[in-house]
Amino acid sequence: MFRLTRIYLSLAIWGACWAALRADDGNTPTASAKVDYRKHIAPLLSKHCFRCHGEKSQEGGLRLDVRQRALTGGDSGLAIQPGNSKQSAMIARVASNDPEVRMPPEGARLLPAEVELLKRWIDQGAKGIPDGRPSSSNHWAFQSIKTPAIPDVADSNWCSNAIDRFVLAKLENEGIKPSPSASPRTLVRRLYLDLIGLPPTWRQIESFMNDESADAYERLVDKLLASAHYGERWGRHWLDLARHADSGGYEADMPRETWAYRDYVINAFNSDMPFDRFVVEQLGGDLLPIPTMAQRIATGFHCNAMYDPGVRFESVIYQVNTTGTVFLGLTVGCAQCHTHKTDPITQREFYGLYGFFNNAIMMPMDLATGKPAIPPTEKTKVQPPSSLIMKYTAHPTHIFLRGDPAQPGEQVAPGFPAELDWQPAKSWWGELDGSPSRSVKNRLDLARWIVSDKNPLTDRVTVNRIWQRFFGLGLVSTEDDFGVQTPPPSHPELLDWLAREFRRKHLSFKSLHRLIVTSSTYRQVSVTRSDLSDIDPGNRFLARQRRLRLEGEIVRDVWMYTGDLLSEKMGGPSVFPWQPESVLENRATPAKWIESKGENRYRRGLYTWFWRLTPHPHFPLLDGPDAVTACTRRGRSNVPVQALTLLNDPTFMECARKLATLVVAMPSATDRQRLDFLYHRCLGRDPISWEIAVLKKVISDQRRRLATSPKQAEAISDGHESPAEHAVWVIICRAIMNTDEFITRE
C-alpha cells in the first residue's frame, strides 16, 4: 500500500513535470537523463528568479545568471552546492511551505516538477551556467547552423513539404491538430496580397477555381513570383529595413534624391538577386573592382541614414546600428556608450564596426554620367537625376567615451567583434584568393563577413523575418534582437532548416517564398480556435494562420485598385498625391508639395514622396515606419483616427465614388447582382444572406431619403449624371470598403 502511494505520487510529480516542460519545448528528460541548463533550467530561472537575482537586480546580493556569481552565493551564503541538492539553500527556499521563507516571495510558486528538475540539475553538478558575456558556447543564436533531421510525423498526409513536418511534429507532441486548409478563394486572395500586395480580380479567382490540374496552386505561386508587382511588395519590406525616405531628417529635413535606390531594390527582388550579392552591393558596391551604375546606386542603403552636417557621427551610428539590426539581429547600439555584460560586443568593437562607415562619405551621383552630381546653379535650374551613394574616404576612428563624440578616446581600426569570429566569405568579384590583403578592412570585408556561410546569425535573422511577413510573428518573436535576453525560437530546428535551405537554394528569396507559401502550415485557415485560446493565444505552435491587417501603403493600394483608380506604373521619381494642406505647416525649413497630375496621383503607396519630418498622413496613421531606425516589424494599431480617415478622407471617398460608377454602369442588373459584383471585386467571395440583408436595408433607406434630398445626393455623387442612384451605391461601396475584411489578409 505504502509502495503504491509512492508510485502514484511519483507519477503525479512526473505528470506535473511533463506538463511544465511541455510548456517550454516538449523535451522531457527521463529520470536518469541529463538535465540541460539551457533547455530546462535557464527558462525556469528566468521565469521565477532572474527578476530579482539577475542582471538588473541582485536581491540579497545573489545573482544567478552568471556562473561565478551563482556559485559564490549571496549575503546569506551559498545558494547552490553543486552535486548536493540537499545542502543547497536554493532548493530549501523554493520548496518551502513557509511563505516567509519560500522563493519567489511573490507570484506563482514553483511546481513540484520544477523543483525536482532543479534538484536533479544541482545533483548532476549544476553545470551550464554561462560565464559572463554571451558566446557560441552559451547562446543558441551564436552557434553554427546545423542541418537538422526532418522529423517523422504520424499524419504525413497533412504535410506538403518539410516545413510541415517540423510544425506537425511539435503539434503532435502537444496533442494539437492543425487547422484545415483555407478555402481556395481565401487562399488566392492570401497569395495575391502576400506576394504582390494587390487583391485578385474575380476573373483571376475564377480561373484558379476552374483549373483542375494538380499543380494549379504551385503555378499560381510561380505566376505571382514572376509578377513585377512582387518586387514592389517585397522591395517595400526591404525599404522598411533600409529606412528609405526622400529627405534627410532632423529639423532641417532637406530633400534628397534616392528614388534610384528604391528602384534598385524593386529590381533586385524581381530579378531574384541572391541575398549575398544583394548585401555586398548595398554595403560595398562602390568598392567592387569595376562597379556598375546599379552597384553604386545600391550603396544608397546606408545613405538613407538621417543626416545633418553638424552631427555627422550620428549618421554613422545609425549605419552601425542598422547593420546590427538588419543583418545580425543584434542591438549593437547599446555598446556605443559602454560595454554591457549581456551583449556580445564591447564598446571597442562597436567602434571597430563604426570604422567601416566612418571611412566613407555620402555624395550625390549624376545618374546620366556616373560622376558626382553638380549642385544646380542659376543657369542649370533643372538638375539632372541623381542618387546618393557612398564613397570611400579615410577618417580616423576613435572610441567615444560614454558615447560622446566630444570625448574621443583611443583610436581603433575597422574590425569585427571577437565573439562573432568566423571566416568571411570568399569574394567572387575578381580578387585572387578571396582574402584580400588590405591593411585596413573596408565595407567589402564587412559584407563578406556578413554573407559568410559560417555566420550563424544573418541567415537565421533573414529567414525569420521572411517567416514573420507570412505569419505575423517570427519563429523568433523578437525579430530585431537575437541576443541572450530574448526568448528562444518556437521551432529552433525549423529555423535552422530554413536557414540551411535558403543557402542551399543559393540565397534565393523567391525559392524561400515558394517553399513557405506552398506549405500546409501557410495554407491553414486563420480562424481563431477556442480550443487554443488558453494554451496558445499567440499562435506560437502554428496550429492555424493569422488574420493580418494590411500595411498602410497596401491598404491604400487596395482601395485604389478596387476603386479602379490605381496606376500600375513602376519606378521613377517619387510622386505627390493629394494631401491636406496643413501637413507641411510649421516646418523649420519649408517643404514643397506640388500635387502630381494625371496617373501620378494614383501610384502605389511606395512611390509617395516621404518627408521624414512631415510624411503624408496616411502612412504614419496606418503604422508606416518613420525611417529613422530600421523598421523590422510594423505595428498594426487599431484606433479611431484610422476609422475617421478611411470613412471621411477625400482620397478614400474618391475610390468609393469611382467604384460606385462601375456598379451603376451595370446594365439592367438587380440590386442583388450589384451586391454580388461588389463582394466579388472587394472581397473575392459571394456575400452571405445576412450581409445582403444588412446592405439591402441601407439601399432601400437611402434610396428613399436621397430621392427627396437631391442636394445631398449631388454632394455625395460629385458630378455623376444620375446622382441619387449613384450616391446610394457610393454609400454601399464605402461601407464594404470600410469592413475589417477588406483591409485584412485572411
Binding site: 521565469k47 527578476r51 538588473k56 537586480s57 507570484g107 560622446d404 566630444a406 518573436s477 526568448p487 480562424v527 481563431t528 477556442s530 488574420r547 491587417r549 491636406p580 496643413s582 501637413v583 505647416e585 510649421n586 498622413p617 518613420d626 529613422v628 505595428g635 498594426r636 494599431s637 487599431n638 484606433v639 479611431p640 483616427v641 484610422q642 476609422a643 475617421l644 480617415t645 470613412l647 471621411n648 478622407d649 477625400p650 471617398m653 444572406s689 445576412w690 450581409e691 440583408a693 444588412v694 436595408k697 441601407v698 437611402q702 431619403r705 442636394k711 445631398q712 445626393a713 449631388e714 454632394a715 455625395i716 450616391a727 461601407a735 464594404i736 470600410n738 469592413t739 475589417d740 485572411e746
Partner: protein, 484 residues
C-alpha cells in the same frame, strides 16, 4: 473568476468576452434567419463599444480620476527655476569640488574642472507656504499653495531619448507601454466619446517620438491618440459632403454589422477592436468637433491662459484643450513641449521657454480649481532630466554659456489629484547636484501617480512572452509624503 485573475487580465478583453457571450446567447448563431436584423443595425449594434468602455477596476480608493502630464522636453533648469542655490551664487566661477564631480554624469561637458555658475535670476518666497520660485515663473509662483514641489527626482540616463523613455515607459529602450497606456489599460475611460489617452504637442517633438505614448505590448487600443501639432488637430473629423449625421450613423452601423458577422465567423478580437474603433470614431466626430471648438470659452479664459489667437497651435491652447478633455472624462492627457535643452545661451533660451509655458501651466491649475476639477485631476510638470550647477562653455566663438544635463536630482511639481498643496519635498546639497534626502526615482514617481489613480503599481501587470510585466519593472515605491 477570481479577483486576481480579474486584475491580471486586460480589462477590455474581459469586457469583450462578456459581450461576445451575450451576443451569442442573444443571436444563437446568425444562421437563425431574421433573428434581429434590427438589433444588428440599431442600438444593439453599439453595445459592443459601450460595454467595453464601461469596465473600471481599481486596487484601492482613488484620489484622482485623470492626469494631465506636462512633459517639458529637454530638461528645464531647476537651479534657475525652483531649487535656488545661494552657495553656487556665492562661489560663482569656482571649480566644482572634485569629490562631487566624480559622482556626476555629464552628457557633454568635457572640461576637467567645470566652474560653478550661479543663477542670474532672483528667487523669492510666495504664498502662505513660502515656496521659493524664480522670477522667471511669476505665474507658477502665484499658485504655490496648490503645488507640491519635489526637488530630488532622479533618473538613469543622460541621453534625452532614453531618459524620455525612462520617464514615460519605465524602460530605457523602446518597446514598453507608456504610463498613459498602463493607466487606461487599468482604468479605461470615463468618456464614451473621446479616446481615453490623448497627446498634444507644441514646439519640438519628443526625441523618442510616439514611443513616449505607445502601447508597447499592450493591446493597440490603449495607445495614446496624438493630435497633430499643426493644422487641424485631428484630420477627417467632418463627414464627407452629403453625409448627414443620420447617414453617417447608418453607414457606421452597417459597417459594424458587417464586421460583427465576420467576427462571428473568425472570432478575431481585432475585429471587435475595430468595431469599438468605428463606434468611437463616429462619436468623436461630434464630440471632438465640440471639444476643439473654443468659441464657448470666454475672453477672460483666453486671457488667463495667455492665448492671443485661439486658432494658432500653442502650449497655452493645448493647456486649455487639456482642461476641456478632462472635463469630458478623458483619463490621461499628455502635453509635450520643447525644447528646454539649454546647453548654450541659457540666458536667452530659458526666459523664452518660461514665457511660453509659465502662464498657461498656472492658468490650467487655477482653472481646474475654479471648476472644481482639481481635486480629481493630477497635474504633473517636469522634464525627463534636469540641469547642473556648472557652466557649459562652448569652444566655439559667439556661443553663450549654458548648462549640461543633470540626472541625479531635478525638480518636478504636482498639483491636485490628491497631492497636498503648498509643500516642497526633498533637499539637494549646496550645489544642487545630489540629493540630501531620499531621492524620488522616476519609478517612484510612476508608482505614486498610479497610486493616486487607485492602482497598485505592483499589481497592474500584463503577461507578455511568459512574464508579468509592469510599468515599474521590479522597482518603485509609492511616495506617501506627496499626499499624506
Amino acid at each position: 473568476m477570481t479577483a486576481k485573475r480579474h486584475l491580471n487580465e486586460p480589462l477590455s478583453a474581459l469586457a469583450l468576452e462578456q459581450t461576445r457571450r451575450q451576443f451569442f446567447r442573444r443571436g444563437a448563431g446568425l444562421s437563425v434567419a431574421p433573428m434581429a436584423l434590427a438589433s444588428l443595425l440599431d442600438q444593439d449594434g453599439r453595445v459592443f463599444g459601450e460595454e467595453a468602455e464601461s469596465v473600471m477596476q481599481t486596487h484601492h480608493r482613488p484620489r484622482a480620476k485623470s492626469v494631465i502630464f506636462l512633459h517639458m522636453i529637454g530638461g528645464p533648469s531647476q537651479i534657475d527655476l525652483f531649487d535656488p542655490k545661494p552657495e553656487v551664487i556665492r562661489r560663482d566661477g569656482d571649480t566644482l569640488p572634485e569629490s562631487l564631480q566624480k559622482k556626476l554624469t555629464f552628457a557633454q561637458i568635457q572640461e576637467k574642472q567645470p566652474r560653478l555658475m550661479g543663477s542670474p535670476w532672483k528667487f523669492s518666497q510666495h504664498g502662505e507656504c513660502g515656496a521659493t520660485v524664480s522670477e522667471l515663473m511669476p505665474h507658477i509662483a502665484s499658485i504655490v499653495d496648490d503645488v507640491s514641489f519635489v526637488r530630488t527626482v532622479k533618473t538613469d540616463d543622460t541621453n534625452h531619448m532614453f531618459a524620455e523613455l525612462m520617464l514615460n515607459t519605465g524602460w530605457r529602450r523602446f518597446g514598453r507601454p507608456s504610463i498613459g497606456s498602463w493607466v487606461v489599460y487599468g482604468l479605461r475611460s470615463e468618456s464614451q466619446q473621446l479616446p481615453a489617452f490623448m497627446v498634444l504637442r507644441s514646439g519640438m517633438r519628443p526625441r523618442s517620438k510616439s514611443a513616449n505614448y505607445g502601447n508597447g505590448f499592450l493591446p493597440s487600443k490603449y495607445q495614446g491618440t496624438p493630435l497633430r501639432s499643426s493644422g487641424d488637430p485631428i484630420l477627417n473629423l467632418a463627414s464627407p459632403p452629403g453625409f448627414t449625421e443620420a447617414r453617417q450613423r447608418q453607414s457606421v452601423d452597417a459597417i459594424n454589422a458587417l464586421n460583427r458577422i465576420r467576427y462571428e465567423q473568425t472570432k478575431d478580437d481585432e475585429i471587435a477592436a475595430r468595431i469599438v474603433s468605428y463606434e468611437l470614431a463616429f462619436r468623436m466626430q461630434s464630440a471632438a468637433t465640440e471639444w476643439l471648438d473654443l468659441k464657448s470659452e470666454t475672453p477672460g479664459t483666453f486671457k488667463q491662459y495667455g492665448i492671443d489667437d485661439a486658432a494658432r497651435p500653442s502650449f497655452a491652447r493645448n493647456c486649455l484643450l487639456a482642461r476641456r478633455l478632462v472635463e469630458r472624462g478623458v483619463r490621461f492627457v499628455q502635453l509635450f513641449h520643447g525644447d528646454w535643452d539649454h546647453h548654450s545661451a541659457i540666458k536667452a533660451g530659458l526666459p523664452s521657454q518660461c514665457g511660453l509655458t509659465d502662464q498657461a501651466s498656472a492658468a490650467l491649475v487655477r482653472d481646474l480649481a475654479q471648476r472644481g476639477l482639481l481635486d480629481d485631476t493630477l497635474v504633473v510638470w517636469g522634464g525627463e532630466l534636469g540641469r547642473g550647477a556648472v557652466a557649459q562653455v562652448s569652444d566655439k566663438p559667439n556661443v553663450a554659456v549654458g548648462r549640461d544635463h543633470q540626472i541625479e536630482a531635478f525638480t518636478m511639481w504636482f498639483a491636485g489629484g490628491g497631492a497636498r498643496g503648498g509643500q516642497t519635498i526633498g533637499k539637494t546639497n549646496d550645489f544642487g547636484c545630489l540629493p540630501e534626502t531620499e531621492p524620488w526615482h522616476v519609478y517612484d514617481l510612476q508608482a505614486t501617480i498610479l497610486h493616486l489613480l487607485g492602482l497598485d503599481h505592483t499589481k497592474l501587470t500584463y503577461r507578455y512572452q511568459g512574464r508579468d510585466f509592469r510599468l515599474t519593472d521590479v522597482h518603485g515605491n509609492v511616495k506617501h509624503e506627496l499626499f499624506a
